[in-house]
């Protein structure tokens, strides 16, 4: 069912320095179109910085990012979205005083959202997106009253409304109960089956390992492993990064 149609995303020697700290250090990898790839690493490994570089919220100190055949290094966030690469935030950032429908209307008014909603109309399109994440019956209420899991869905809905080719999900499972986590995992899987390429981070391995066929591991800004979940989970360097160096406990 899933077809790989070549590379959709490529990072080449991506580096980000903040003063003396190198948050992302010479990271290179590729992602195949239509696949689902996980990114793990302990807190502070540089996952979010990497996401910020890819989505245009931060400029790399060195290196290049190619998406859908085009160099997108240094583009502004809205221009990255315009190319079809959308993201969610680890700490949810809803529009607090807008209703859920309005929250999704905003990305529907982006160039790609407008193109996608042309036939249905923006309101209809936005409700379809809301129902695809299971929030349509709460369309008229503001996000402040929602539980955390629903806010995560809203975050995904907002990215989806820009009609992306690829989604960057930053820690979509953190702080969720097991059941909610499973729901978000299911949602992610469905999106991938519909053809959206997914790049998803997590600092807890459990959810990610069962979800994605390929995992990248980061530690102290460097890419330290790339392979199937099993390979990565048994990787000596990854285990050391998570559990600490053995001599540290001696």
């Amino acid at each position: 069912m899933k077809q790989t149609l070549g590379t959709i995303f490529e990072a080449k020697n991506l580096t980000k320095r903040f003063g003396g700290l190198t948050a992302v250090n010479d990271v290179s990898f590729e992602i195949e179109r239509g696949t689902m790839v996980g990114l793990i690493g302990p807190n502070g490994a540089g996952k979010t910085t990497l996401f910020n570089l890819i989505s245009g919220f931060d400029n790399p100190s060195a290196g290049h990012i190619k998406f859908d055949g085009v160099d997108i290094t240094g583009l502004k966030p809205f221009q990255v979205v315009e190319r079809g690469l959308a993201r969610t935030f680890q700490l949810v950032r809803p529009f607090r005083y807008l209703t859920l429908l309005e929250n999704v209307t905003v990305p529907s008014l982006s160039p790609r959202g407008r193109a996608a909603s042309e036939s249905a109309g923006i309101d209809e399109y936005a409700s379809t997106i809301l129902s695809s994440v299971g929030l349509v019956d709460k369309a008229r209420i503001p996000p402040v009253v929602l539980p955390h899991g629903d806010l995560r869905r809203l975050e995904i809905a907002r990215a989806l409304a820009t009609n992306p080719q690829m989604l960057l999900l930053d820690e979509p499972f953190s702080g969720l109960a097991h059941e909610e986590s499973a729901n978000i995992g299911e949602l992610t899987k469905n999106l991938n089956e519909e053809g959206v390429t997914i790049f998803v981070t997590g600092h807890v391995m459990r959810e990610l390992m069962t979800l994605v066929p390929r995992v990248l591991a980061m530690h102290q800004g460097k890419l330290i492993a790339d392979g199937t979940p099993k390979e990565v989970a048994n990787n000596k360097i990854v285990l050391e990064a998570y559990l600490g160096r053995s001599e540290g406990y001696a």
Partner: protein, 335 residues
């Protein structure tokens, strides 16, 4: 021809139906009654003094609403709104006084000049966020304040003396009152319509979380610039009417006093409620007028009133007042 007009009225039918159902809601009824009351003011009180106070209040309503539009709905706080008020005033005063243009041409020209200034201020300032944006706009208004006092402008814009001897909008106080009232109502209707439109939704999203708006594929800089220009347009209209009402302008119109007045009036009525500007501006104008004779004491009373409003109705006094009125009316209707 009659066929076409019939068609026209059929097209209009849903709009009139919507208007009728809106007019029957509490809010609609209150708005219409308020409007009717304002139209009837000249029938009760024809004195130039009283009508002048109302004219000034209406001008301040437009001005306060223009600030609230930018701060309350787009989240861009300006501390230098007097720049737009002043430039609109100067443009109108200059055009009417030296080029003999009719007042209505000058009002729109003044608003247009303010929009151009909005663009000029907006492009550099909108790179700034929060307090830095506020200070950037403040700096611009202070620069204009100095600039318009420069002796080089003496022959033309009067330097520190400003422009005076501007012919009035109309020699009939009632006509002036009704014209300014029409400008006030039209300005509010346009601003409220914009905030309720899809563009308004994007504006409010930028206010709530600019980062999220960018992640939603929105070119926030472009939208903020448009909002800046809309706000400048209405502040420019207010400034133009201000210059016509006082038959002139002088550099203090660019001063911090006028910049902060916009904020005080909008906050009194309630931020992010365009209609709240009516309450805020009227309260401000009446306090300002009637406390004037007490000189130093007036500042004290003014400060106390402001503190009381902000202490007991931090969202502005308009909302609670409107709710009390509703309860009162419900009691009268026996509910």
């Amino acid at each position: 021809m009659p066929k076409a007009s019939k068609h026209f009225f059929e097209e209009l039918a849903p709009a009139t139906r919507r208007f009728r159902s809106w007019a029957l809601t509490y809010r609609g009824l209150l708005t219409l009654l308020g409007l009717l009351g304002l139209i009837l003011v000249p029938a009760i009180q024809k004195s130039e003094y009283w009508l002048g106070i109302f004219v000034l209040a209406d001008i301040w309503v437009i001005y306060a609403a223009s600030w609230d539009f930018l701060a309350g709905y787009v989240g861009q706080v300006s501390f230098g709104h007097a720049a737009f008020l002043g430039i609109g005033g100067y443009a109108t005063a200059g055009l009417v006084r030296y080029f003999g243009q009719p007042w209505w041409v000058s009002v729109f020209a003044g608003a247009f000049v303010a929009v151009v200034l909005g663009l000029t201020v907006g492009v550099p300032c909108l790179r700034l966020k929060g307090p830095y944006l506020a200070l950037g706009t403040l700096a611009f208004s202070l620069i204009l304040n100095e600039l318009f006092q420069s002796p080089a402008l003496q022959p033309w814009l009067g330097a520190s003396g400003g422009v005076s001897g501007v012919p009035p909008l109309s020699h009939d106080a009632v006509v002036e009152y009704l014209v300014v009232l029409a400008f006030m109502v039209a300005s509010l209707v346009v601003m409220v319509s914009i905030t309720n439109s899809r563009v308004g939704t994007v504006f409010r999203s930028i206010r709530d979380d600019e980062t999220s708006a960018e992640a939603s594929g929105i070119n926030t800089t472009k939208y903020k610039l448009v909002a800046f220009m809309i706000s400048a347009f209405f502040a420019g209209i207010a400034g133009s009417l201000f210059a016509l009402h006082f038959r002139g302008v002088s550099p203090p119109v660019f001063g911090t006093l006028y910049s902060f007045q916009a904020i005080v009036m909008a906050a009194l009525g309630g931020v992010a409620t365009i209609f709240g500007s009516i309450g805020g501006a009227y309260l401000f104008t009446f306090l300002d007028t009637f406390l004037g004779p007490f000189a130093g004491l007036s500042v004290f009373v003014f400060a106390v009133v402001l503190l009381l409003v902000f202490r007991f109705a931090s969202g502005g006094f308009m909302k609670p007042v409107v709710e009390w009125l509703k309860e009162f009316i419900d009691i009268l209707r026996g509910k």
